[in-house]
Symmetry: D2
Subunit: 276 residues, 4 copies
């Protein structure tokens, strides 16, 4: 803090008498360029929407909002799980807080190879990192939204020809020990749908994905369960939540399913994000 | 205007010396409940997002924003084309303007009957009314967004079984003389797609729509052209724009087509919305 | 179910061997006109986005999506808390489920009187009803988003003149016994901010709200705590969550605060929405 | 094109008998990482939403959607005005088209220095490039959305203390000869508002921006006109459109103004984007 600042009154530091602690206070929807680890190319440049919050004890009037951005400017360019916890530690120190959260949402790209023509193109996925520290305890959830194709088993079974199909978004959140690549979650989902999506498909590829989808019909229930079965085989995963939303091509509303891994009582002993 | 107000300085009324007239100035994104004419049920209640603007001559510093809301409060509950032009006339009078615009966007509902079970349910469409007056000249564009099902002719032709299909939004804008019902535009689009959508379909209906779509494959190009052919047969329609956007079920991006009725040079003599 | 339907295979009813129960499955983002209770005018017409889900035991392949819409068509026009639980009971019966959810989000209007001119205009708020039943146990959360004006206490304290201020959205969720009007939550929030908002303000009103806001500076922390203090005095409220988000007029990101009433451990015994 | 593809029928290439040419057909909302020229740092990595379309003569059934993505994969990583016209030329060649459009929308970052503390932080702006070719004629529009602070002159004039202020978005579109930097447009707008925004402000900076804004009150009309006056002095600019939208802190709706440079009749001789 420089001299000019010291002379100005520090309104936030005043004593508060309402006796109401604040669970989370900070900044939301700050857009910021970041560099994320990438299994295939070491890292990739992307743009994140960032929120950073801490708890505020009942006796303080306010937190110091500018410090969040200062910490981000100092540490935020290259993002991985460890660097996020370093940011949280600095947030706790600079803002005298016990609990700290950082949430980043960003598009993430992967090169996909078309199934027959073998032409390559980039596919985009939406990813969210949510890291939290409470004193020294840590919690981390990685969320990946994977768009896929789903073909309706009922429509196929009852119709002489064809079957309605559509784009759907499968949202997978996981807690894990060690490391899980974004790409592993994408694979688990894409293998669970009627077919995966590509930015570039030539006619021979379009034939392939059309027929593959027709041979693999799935309801929202099926794609969720198939994904869960694959997540269960990934040893590092401790907890998962799988949501499927189909933009039904016969309705103007969506079909939806949600599966969460464990019962809530066990979970809340260990999972800090839900508590602070 | 009451006495208290008269004593306060009127900043907006000051003379402006920058010599820059303003094309449009007013309010945007005011949410407001309205009553709209409905072919089948006389009228329906819905919620609109409303914008109202006028031009401002170069010698005035500002318009009087509160008058837009006053005029809306007085006139805005029951909306039809005539009432919109009454509102525009009042805007021109109260705000000393030559050009005036009002734009309303709202969801609109229609009861649809499932094709086999004959069960009824409500389908939602998005509608926009854009009315403009320049001195005494009038212009009006009605836009209807109709969600439909499209099944890919290429995918059907090249594949042993199945064909990719998806939800698409067809956006039709029309200028017309006399009257055109929102329902007529919806019919023109729904008859032009692979199949129309329903909120409620039993299994026998699902079989019907699946097979109907398979028998009627359309590209974005086809659904646009089919719609244009139907609009051309509607005598009252003077101008149209048709956009088709397919939420492709094999890609994470969309397919898009746009057809506009006449060449721009002719159009701009008559069509005031584009000029002021 | 009619005869035609009986002859078609019921794919959803098939036995599933993956042994994975589904927490929630159903329909999402169905737009639908509803009639909501209103303290001042008995009821008002509005448009809701609706989601309806049930649980699905591990041995069933799928739920029957069309039944959600059938139940809504039969019961959904006039919405209040009791009618929502009737819908949930019917969902549990028709879909053989233990847990059932219905969520409705809709704009809600209230006539406000300008502070000096006494002119009346409609203000819009966003409301969410989330009702859940697990067997016979019930849970209900009402959420109201109240837009307000917040003026920064720090900016006022350190500046010779003026103070930055902005629009903010305060999101209040409550569980309660007996009845709480939407209007009561709105009042609690509007009294807690620097000033409340109006659609129609004449100059004498604008002077009033400007000066009122300057005399009542609040951080996101303050408006949250002030709201909590008012909610605590409302005897019927059993649980609350208050979020404040300021669209800061000096930044392109937002300031955010969140206060939740009780610790998580107690809560999860009683609050069913969080568990199913 | 490989052998497998040649054997599959080319549905798009079929003759169409409806006699309706299509103005624009192609792909929309493809998310894609790009590298953009940056005045201060040579270039920056960002993520664009991309649309690419061509016209389609009346005698063809459809365009070939995969070629857009192939062309983008080959040419699209490093974007500047010249490279966009190279892409358009390739689109015209590969798709046998006369008219071609490419539109890219992306966040763009600039390092800003806080006015007193001199601390640096990144500010985000939204940018759109729209390039079009018709045969050999070219047209290009650059759009920059600049968020600023606006303080109401009326509120200041009529109130004993304070003045309502808020975040506003100023959207500037320009056609130009030679070169115009994104940074030049940002400067023109930020100098025209009550104050510009920063991601990082310490207390001494907050005092500065609060007082600066209070000394420079502007309506939406003023910030638009001020921006136009600055654009008029930039010799390279041939055409401009300036929109101002204030997220009013005393209303839940917005104030809006729009100024466009020339009258429509002149414009349409030269400006190709509007015609094809």
């Amino acid at each position: 803090m420089n001299n000019k600042n010291k002379k100005l009154p520090d309104t936030q530091n005043k004593t508060d008498k309402r006796k109401i602690p604040i669970n989370r206070v900070g900044i939301k929807n700050l857009r910021y360029p970041i560099l994320v680890k990438d299994r295939d190319n070491k890292h990739q440049h992307t743009i994140a929407m960032i929120s950073m919050t801490v708890d505020l004890p009942m006796h303080f009037k306010g937190t110091h909002m500018s410090r969040f951005v200062e910490i981000l400017e100092k540490n935020g360019k290259e993002i991985n799980i460890e660097s996020l916890f370093d940011i949280l530690t600095e947030m706790q120190n600079k803002l005298h807080a016990k609990a700290s959260h950082i949430v980043l949402e960003f598009p993430y790209f992967r090169t996909k190879t078309a199934p027959v023509s073998k032409l390559q193109s980039l596919m985009d996925y939406r990813v969210k990192f949510h890291a939290v520290k409470y004193n020294g305890d840590k919690d981390f959830i990685m969320t990946v939204v994977v768009p896929v194709k789903t073909l309706c088993p009922c429509s196929k079974n009852i119709s002489k020809y064809g079957a309605h199909n559509q784009r759907g978004d499968i949202t997978v959140s996981v807690r894990f020990k060690g490391n899980i690549w974004i790409e592993e979650i994408i694979d688990a989902v894409e293998d669970s749908a009627s077919c995966d999506l590509y930015s570039l498909l030539k006619r021979e590829d379009e034939k392939y994905v059309t027929e593959k989808a027709y041979k693999n019909p799935v309801f929202v229930e099926d794609v969720s369960r198939n994904t869960v079965m694959r997540l269960k085989k990934m040893k590092n995963i401790k907890w998962y939540s799988v949501e499927a939303e189909n933009y039904e091509s016969i309705h103007n509303h969506n079909a939806y399913a949600h599966i969460e891994s464990t019962n809530i009582c066990k979970k809340y002993k260990e999972f800090i994000i839900s508590r602070y």
